[in-house]
């Protein structure tokens, strides 16, 4: 299988690799970089467990090839906290019981990061609408919505 050379900045660190052209981005992140905080829930871009930020936009990494990330900046859940401080969304999910089994959480938090970038003061309805690409089976979304609203508030709402 033909290998392709890629350069990707992941969580601020420049990575170089030779990857199979068919390798999915999520497998590159999980298997090659061993950043297993990014999850695979459905393989068909329905559930959002695999969401990462690529150049600031949330994307479903199970439906992108690693080669498509060539030259891009990727942020995974492992890269969200800075200097040992949790990101306000991580803090808010913790404070508001925005997770139970935790499997959807990485994707949910990263999708929420982008949501608040675009709309720093969303209504509950806008949060629900903005997170419809991310499935959670545990929380019924109630506390996820609460968490995102709390994070918006904490960021100076």
């Amino acid at each position: 299988m033909a290998k392709t050379s890629i350069q990707v900045t992941v969580n601020g660190k420049l990575r170089q690799a030779e990857v199979d052209s068919r390798m999915l981005l999520v497998h590159y992140i999980r298997e090659e970089l061993e950043l297993t905080g990014t999850k695979i829930g459905c393989d068909t871009s329905q559930c959002g467990a695999c969401v990462v930020l690529m150049n600031g936009s949330s994307i479903k990494s199970c439906t992108a090839f690693a080669v498509q990330a060539d030259g891009a900046e990727i942020t995974t859940i492992e890269g969200l906290a800075t200097d040992g401080n949790l990101h306000p969304l991580q803090e808010a999910f913790w404070n508001n019981h925005g997770l139970q089994c935790g499997y959807c959480t990485s994707g949910m938090i990263l999708a929420s990061v982008e949501l608040l970038e675009r709309n720093p003061h969303p209504t509950a309805e806008e949060v629900r609408s903005g997170l419809q690409g991310n499935l959670c089976r545990c929380t019924g979304y109630h506390n996820i919505v609460k968490s995102v609203l709390a994070a918006a508030e904490a960021k100076g709402g």
């Binding site: 068909t44 913790w94 506390n143």
Partner: protein, 780 residues
């Protein structure tokens, strides 16, 4: 006075690893020299295998080995069913790890490939050629029992897996003399559990020692070890099962599946670790489904609204084989709770378990009790319509009056405690029921269709007394155990046999221990999920972990307290009967300054420099808790919907849950359980359903086709509670993990039917999709 830690909604100690991506689930585990397993699954629902050619796959790049059923048949025992209910003539047909002659559902394994990486394994699967001779297929459980239906197993005539009857009172007489009867046929459609983490296993067999380690996404690692031993023939003491972080289960991770046994087989054959992780599409056909009942149900009553009888004829689809706990779900966990919160003197449950050419069915959140609550609450509403009574008043009339210590119901079980009016009145008050009905009437005048429903439920959980488990054919005990170990530094590990996976018991069990012994909650760590370093336990399901496992923690803590008292007396040179304990301190009665803290005791017990005569060193206690009864949480739920007759759309505008699970250890976690359960139940009412075509193909085979509720589809859930302690539980607690799913499906269903009443719609099957609503309105 500091606030009590028991009852405090502290944030979860599990969360830091989960919100940072540091938690390790099974698929995150990578071992040296690990190979990858992929499974070839049958595309036919029923077919004879005439030939399998694996030669090209074996030559494919990276492939280490290819196996078929002929390889596993002689090595692996069939996957056992662990719940054979007595007196049911159960046909425990052999469920092979891989089919070698006949496949009986789409998704059954026919070959496995082991390769150096997952891509290579998947590539090789495509090179395997299997010749099938299709056989006739049946997917509906009622149809499967009719004469002439295709037969799945030679030793199960009419596809009858079992027949269970439970009766109390004289039901037939009650119906003969009834002033009024109502009946319905209810399709409890098949559901797919959809734990967000797909199933996964890493098997590592060390041939020199004959030892197997199995990382497995399971709700019950000790049961998984037991069954793995039965299937492989390895001694239980040579098997270590580790449930690392587990990403949801909802019942789907109770069973031991053929798939992880195939991973074990591959590792044992090759002498190297292997990983198997399913795709979501595999999950949909190869992890268990839930529900799948066809129910013919009827209720008898007097004209004044007194319910006199209830009976059912149920065809419960079991799928093609009996899954681990499958037969117990539509029987023990379903029929026995038919009376719910009502005083119904005559009840008969007549239930057939049926084989069909579908994925096996097992416990899914609520497991039997949502199906019971649905038929009961549906019939009560139909009865209210028949009698022209307000459905709330009809309920009020039939609720069992308050009891604090035991109430026998017609089917022979004894509820622990109940005060059903308490949540009913609280719920009605909260929503202002009268005003809601007025608003509904007003809206109807403007052709706007609001629906309101109020449900009362009582369910059975906290499984359960082991003697009862044995009597009803459960192939294990249902007690739990805990070891509380104090270190010299005063820090504590609690080792528990049960296996939480999202329910937050690392937090709530620390709260229990902290409350019992006055140790700061941060000085306590709860250890679970690894059979090599935890005591025996039966797992997390049936809303049992906190109720049964939490009680074991409390009892172990109380043993620590007893020992601490003896040591404190010795160190304080006082008589033991003069020692009191409060807030983490042992002190001489009347002289609180003469005291030893629990940390002092932990130090002195661990160094053992000055122990009383005959007292063993160390501060450690182990407790086994076998509950004397189940627990019976209850509550009232209210749903409000708006239905748009022009397009059939339903908006769930309001959902109120008032639940009584006794004293709450952590109200934040309790509320979270209710939120999640309610939305799962809403999913069944409104959107979800696993659909097979007549040839046994799963039409809803991906998340694109099966509608798991999304954030924008549901409202905030209003959660309230009342507190009625269980008289027999050491903490007074009852389970709360499933109540949401148990009550919400029928509450939302009844609300929609209530909205549709002026439009003449009286009968609809779930899920209540806009298409179904629109057709019912416009085509009658």
């Amino acid at each position: 006075m500091t606030s009590r830690i028991f009852g405090s909604g502290i944030r979860r100690r599990e969360d830091p690893r989960l919100i940072t991506g540091q938690a390790s689930y099974t698929d995150d585990i990578k071992l040296p020299h690990m190979a990858h397993v992929a499974i070839l699954r049958s595309p036919h629902a029923h077919a004879r295998i005439t030939n399998i050619d694996t030669s090209a796959a074996a030559e494919s790049p990276g492939v280490v080995a290819v196996y078929t059923g002929t390889d596993t048949d002689s090595v692996l025992n069939p996957i056992p069913c662990a719940w054979i209910v007595p007196d049911t003539d159960t046909k425990a047909v052999a469920y092979p790890a891989m089919a070698s002659e006949i496949v009986r559902y789409v998704g059954e394994a026919v070959a496995v490939v082991v390769a150096e990486d997952r891509y290579q394994a998947e590539d090789a699967l495509e090179l395997i050629t299997v010749d099938y001779e299709p056989l006739p297929v049946v997917v509906n459980p009622e149809a499967a029992m009719q004469a002439g239906a295709p037969q799945l197993h030679d030793d199960a005539p009419s596809n009858q897996a079992f027949h269970w009857v439970a009766a109390g009172g004289d039901t037939d007489a009650a119906f003969e003399s009834a002033e009024v009867t109502v009946k319905d046929t209810i399709i409890q459609q098949r559901l797919i559990p959809n734990a967000m983490e797909p199933r996964s296993a890493v098997a590592s067999y060390m041939s020199s020692m004959g030892e197997l380690t199995l990382w497995n996404t399971t709700q019950n690692p000790h049961i998984a070890r037991f069954v793995t031993s039965m299937v492989t023939g390895l001694g239980e003491h040579k098997i270590r099962v580790i449930a690392p972080e587990v990403g949801g289960g909802f019942g789907s991770k109770i069973p031991v599946y053929p798939w992880e046994m195939l991973a074990v087989f591959c590792s044992m054959q090759l002498g190297r670790p292997v990983k198997w992780t399913e795709t979501r599409t595999e999950n949909y056909v190869a992890s268990i489904h839930g529900r799948d009942h066809v129910q013919h149900v009827e209720m008898a009553a007097n004209r004044d609204g007194t319910i006199t009888g209830l009976r059912s004829l149920v065809y419960a689809g079991m799928g093609a084989y009996l899954s681990t706990a499958g037969p117990g779900v539509p029987t023990i966990l379903h029929g026995l709770i038919y009376s719910g919160p009502y005083d119904i003197p005559n009840i008969k449950a007549d239930i057939y378990g049926v084989f069909t050419n579908t994925t096996p069915v097992d416990a899914y959140r609520g497991a039997g009790r949502p199906e019971a609550t649905f038929l009961l609450e549906r019939l009560v509403n139909l009865l209210a319509d028949e009698l022209g009574m307000d459905p709330v008043e009809l309920r009020r009339k039939n609720l069992i009056p308050k009891f604090e210590d035991g109430h026998d119901v017609a089917l022979g079980i004894t509820y622990d405690s109940g005060d059903y009016l308490l949540p009913l009145d609280k719920a009605l008050d909260h929503v202002n029921y009268r005003q809601l009905r007025e608003e509904q009437a007003r809206l109807r005048e403007h052709n706007q269709y609001m629906g309101i429903a109020v449900s009362c439920y009582c369910e059975i959980c906290g499984l359960g007394p082991s003697q009862v488990a044995g009597a009803v054919g459960f192939g294990g005990g249902l007690w739990e155990s805990a070891i509380v170990r104090f270190y010299a530094t005063g820090k504590v590990n609690v080792f528990i046999g049960t296996s939480p996976h999202g329910q937050g018991e690392e937090t709530t069990f620390a709260q229990i221990l902290s409350d019992e012994l006055g140790v700061p909650v941060d000085d306590i760590e709860i250890v679970h999920g690894d059979t090599d370093n935890t005591p025996m336990g039966w797992g997390t399901y049936g809303s049992r972990t906190t109720v049964v496992g939490g009680a074991a923690v409390a009892l172990a803590a109380r043993k620590i307290k007893d020992k601490g008292k003896g040591l404190a007396a010795h160190l304080l040179e006082a008589a033991e009967e003069d020692i009191d304990y409060e807030d983490g301190k042992f002190f001489v009665r009347g002289s609180p300054d003469q005291n030893k803290t629990i940390q002092d005791i932990a130090l002195m017990a661990n160094v053992a420099w000055n122990m009383p005569e005959g007292m063993e060193p160390g501060l450690e206690a182990s407790a086994f808790y076998d509950p004397p009864n189940f627990v019976y949480p209850f509550g009232t739920h209210v749903a409000v919907v708006m239905v748009d007759p022009d397009n059939g759309n339903i908006e769930l505008t309001r959902y109120v849950a008032v639940d009584d699970c006794g004293p709450q250890i952590n109200p934040m976690i309790v509320e979270g359980q209710v939120h999640g359960g309610v939305v799962q139940g809403a999913g069944q009412a409104l959107w979800e359903g696993a659909v097979y075509d007549d040839s046994g193909q799963l039409l809803t085979g991906s998340m694109m086709d099966y509608a798991v509720p999304r954030a924008h589809m549901v409202p905030d859930i209003e959660v309230l509670s009342t507190v009625t302690p269980s008289p027999h539980n050491p903490l007074g607690i009852k389970g709360i993990g499933e109540t949401g799913a148990i009550a919400s499906t029928v509450t939302i269903y009844n609300a929609v039917m209530d909205a549709l009443k002026p439009l003449g719609v009286t009968k609809l099957d779930m899920p209540l999709t806009p298409e179904r609503i629109w057709l019912a309105i416009h085509q009658g």
